[in-house]
């Protein structure tokens, strides 16, 4: 049986673990709020970008990035995870989804080329699994647009040169505190937003476009792709903090339970010690009579 001091030591150690997990939960809560604000802030830009694209797309609908290729020889997969762990199944589920997508695409006879963002995925695809990694980078503490731009432009370049025939993003989407499902988004070929509102605005005068629509599209479409990558990075950021917050909350709850059980055990052991001591004294006294 564990001695009193052993149990005491275990309780102290679990209490300090509890301090860490609850502090981490607090930190994640603050970071989550900021990440959610960043998502909110990016929304108007994406919205207006889509509107502009509809406007121009209705006049001119061809662009190299729209091109659907008949034969998919090489598939680019953009895998996004967090830099840090301790977030439950958060990164594991993305990596699993990426693996199964790779297997599926290989089964269909396509080669796979990976672009990896986030240290967890970078580590995972190191070594043998990493044969098909084309580029890898960490997410960094704060997502910024220039990074999304760099990732997007290298993918766009590969698509335009024929190096890739299709690009898919695998990432976690931030739905709520408890739900961050894996999402597969087809990035390229880019599907222009459908012009649903066109009939309603049909009586309005069209925009005069300068330079011409097709040249405007060559600037617009890559930007729309960048926005999509940026959005995925932001979702990943918010999802990471939400997942960590939930994981740390559970961990804190578990430590509470452990401490409760250990305290009970400690008190029992203490009581047993007292009882046995009493028995000794009484038997000693009885022997003297």
């Amino acid at each position: 049986m564990a001695t009193l001091s052993d149990i005491k030591r275990r309780i102290t150690s679990i209490q300090s673990t509890q301090k860490i997990t609850s502090a981490m939960k607090m930190v994640s809560a603050a970071k989550l709020r900021r990440a959610q604000e960043a998502i909110e802030a990016a929304r108007p830009y994406a919205q207006r970008m889509r509107e502009t694209l509809e406007e121009v797309g209705s006049a001119e609908a061809s662009h190299p990035l729209f091109e659907q290729r008949d034969e998919i020889k090489r598939v680019g997969i953009l895998v996004i995870t967090s830099d840090r762990g301790l977030a439950g199944a958060y990164n594991g589920q993305v990596l699993k989804a990426a693996e199964s997508l790779m297997a599926k695409k290989r089964g269909e006879g396509s080669e796979v080329s990976l672009t990896v963002v986030g240290k967890k995925a970078v580590d995972y695809f190191k070594g043998d699994r990493g044969r098909s990694v084309k580029s890898a980078r960490p997410v960094g503490p704060n997502v910024n647009y220039l990074e999304a731009k760099q990732v997007a432009s290298s993918l766009i370049e590969d698509f335009e040169s024929g190096e890739l025939d299709q690009v898919i993003i695998v990432h976690n989407e931030f739905v709520s505190m408890i739900a961050q499902p894996v999402k597969l988004v087809s990035l390229l070929p880019f599907v222009p937003p459908s012009d649903d509102g066109a009939e309603a605005e049909a009586d309005q005068a069209p925009y005069e476009v300068e330079p011409d629509a097709s040249r405007l599209l060559t600037v617009l479409v890559p930007k729309a792709v960048e926005v999509e990558v940026f959005r995925a990075l932001l979702e990943n950021q918010a999802g990471e903090h939400a997942a960590r917050m939930t994981a740390m909350e559970n961990a804190t709850k578990n430590t509470e339970e452990l401490i409760e059980n250990l305290t009970l055990e400690y008190n029992r052991a203490r009581q047993a010690a007292i009882t046995s001591e009493l028995v000794e004294i009484i038997t000693g006294a009885q022997a003297l009579e």
């Binding site: 960043a38 802030a41 990016a42 108007p44 830009y45 994406a46 207006r48 970008m49 509107e51 502009t52 406007e55 121009v56 647009y145 220039l146 999304a148 731009k149 760099q150 290298s154 005068a205 069209p206 925009y207 005069e208 476009v209 300068e210 330079p211 040249r215 405007l216 600037v219 617009l220 930007k223 926005v227 940026f230």
Partner: protein, 139 residues
């Protein structure tokens, strides 16, 4: 009726105010917009933006490349980055400018460096736009 200028970046809305006139660096040359402008859609190149506020005060801002959507009473500017003149850290911009310039000079001697070159070039352009905006603001 007045003209509303709305500047949106992926980081959020930077500017949303009624203005008298705005001069934007269009891909085909600078152009000014007053209210009741024709509906108009154009690409923008990195450059300084001149904003004339009601009352005649002039404000300057530096933008990167993007688009402008002009309607009769609204100008929507979609850009990657936008800094108002008073937000610009001139020293930092000059430092970035000098750094990008020397990096570019180095890259010019190398082959197979198109990727990095484009990146450095864009940094250089952005920095010089900020410096120009700053100087216009203070002249």
């Amino acid at each position: 009726m007045s003209l509303d200028l709305i500047v949106v970046t992926p980081q959020g809305e930077v500017f949303a105010e009624a203005v008298e006139q705005v001069v934007l660096p269009g891909a085909e040359g600078d152009f000014g917009v007053l209210e009741n402008h024709e509906k108009f859609l154009t690409a923008l190149k990195p450059g300084p933006v001149e904003i004339r506020l009601p009352g005649g005060t002039i404000e300057w801002a530096a933008i990167s490349d993007g688009f402008a959507q002009v309607t009769a009473n609204q100008v929507v500017v979609l850009v990657d980055e936008c800094f108002k003149a008073h937000e610009i850290d001139l020293e930092h911009a000059q430092h970035t400018h000098a750094e990008a310039e020397s990096e570019l000079a180095e890259l010019m001697n190398q082959l197979n460096s198109e990727d990095t070159r484009a990146e450095v070039e864009s940094t250089l352009v952005r920095a010089s736009v900020m410096i120009e905006t700053h100087s216009r603001h203070h002249s």
